[in-house]
Symmetry: C2
Subunit: 200 residues, 2 copies
DNA sequence: TTCAAGTAGTGACATTTGTCATGTGAAGGG
DNA sequence: CCCTTCACATGACAAATGTCACTACTTGAA
């Protein structure tokens, strides 16, 4: 019996999927989580064979969690299940050694099959992703990403500098460079573009 | 037997829901559509008792379709099923006389129950919506919304002013007032907040 | 070991943004 | 008719933002 945990904040989908998976004879959904933090605890307690993770969840994202699981060298296989075909997300997921990455756009029957495969040590990726991947990586350095994320959350340059213990001028230099790299007109466009590509 | 049509562009959810609903003894999913246009045709052909409509779909949105069904004085009951708790969407849906408005965030068991209710002539709304509705309507005037939307798309104040044939000062006054109304620190926060509430 | 990149900083400058006071005219409700 | 709200406008000022040039230290790869 394959023991599965589902982390997905959209209750309707979570409920529907777990009911469906439970109809499979070899699969049992042993836990459901509303967000990454809940999932972390449940994984520790129950050690499921497979985790189905949504990316965009409150508190802790599925990618954060996938990275933690990877760091911990856990035996639990991870399948990312998301709406977003953003290359940035996919890249990060690959970096975190996930075993599967499926789009919610795919057929629901595919899911049980994917679970069986990853348990078998195979990997399963939506073909759209693999295709998209063949270019466009994040041009921002890690420091630049940090700065842009804070700016995107509404902080002014000065506040960001206090946050990161940098001088105000440095932050403005970073922003200038970011705007330049992303070919944006100002920070607002930079934020939009970076989000679109999944770079922050 | 209640005959149901599902229009939802996210295949995974659509597949899962229709399988689930088909397990109910009194409900049968007679058609699935990928978008509003497909749904329109299927409704004409099959005259389902209930339509389950997602809002954000390609080609024609669920709200557009709901309005058409309403105009046509069709007997088909409409349930909107969406991720978005935006008051604007809800308002429009109420205007289109929908029989139910559920969030994908709700439990999946609720759905079959909601379908039975609306067939019975009752209505079914996610309580969150009704609650939100009574509070928070959009504090922005239509002009302010217009300005904020353009700013959110990355335009500078000057560009917005050219776009709307206003003086640059006026646009800055609007932005100042918007930032004030939304209790934001700057335009970036104002954009984020307005988007969160579904005000732009 | 040289070199490119990333990180961090300064100073100067122009532009954009945000705030305030203040004024006008139009529309709508009581 | 008065009062409020909205739309639109100015001018003035302070603060934030964006750009440039130039310096300096560290690190990893060729």
């Amino acid at each position: 019996m394959i023991r599965v945990l589902i982390a997905e904040d959209q209750q309707m989908l979570r409920g529907a999927l777990s009911t469906l998976l439970n109809y499979e004879e070899d699969i049992e959904v042993i836990a459901q989580a509303n967000n990454g933090k809940e999932a972390t605890e449940l994984i520790h307690q129950l050690a499921p064979d497979v985790c189905l993770l949504d990316i965009e969840m409150p508190i802790k994202s599925g990618l954060d969690l996938a990275e933690e699981i990877f760091e911990a060298k856990s035996l639990c296989k991870v399948i990312i299940l998301t709406t977003f075909a953003r290359t940035g997300y996919f890249e990060r997921a690959i970096g975190a050694g996930v075993h599967g990455y499926l789009l919610k756009d795919g057929p629901s029957e595919e899911l049980a099959e994917a679970i069986r495969r990853v348990v078998n040590g195979q990997r399963m990726f939506s073909p759209e992703l693999v295709f998209n991947q063949l270019k466009q990586d994040n041009p921002l350095t890690s420091r630049e990403k940090e700065v842009l994320k804070l700016v995107a959350s509404g902080l002014t340059s000065k506040e960001v500098s206090a946050h990161l213990f940098l001088s105000a001028g440095t932050v403005r230099n970073y922003m200038s460079e970011i705007i330049n790299k992303l070919e944006a007109k100002n920070r607002i466009e930079a934020i939009t573009k970076a989000k679109e590509k999944g770079w922050i």
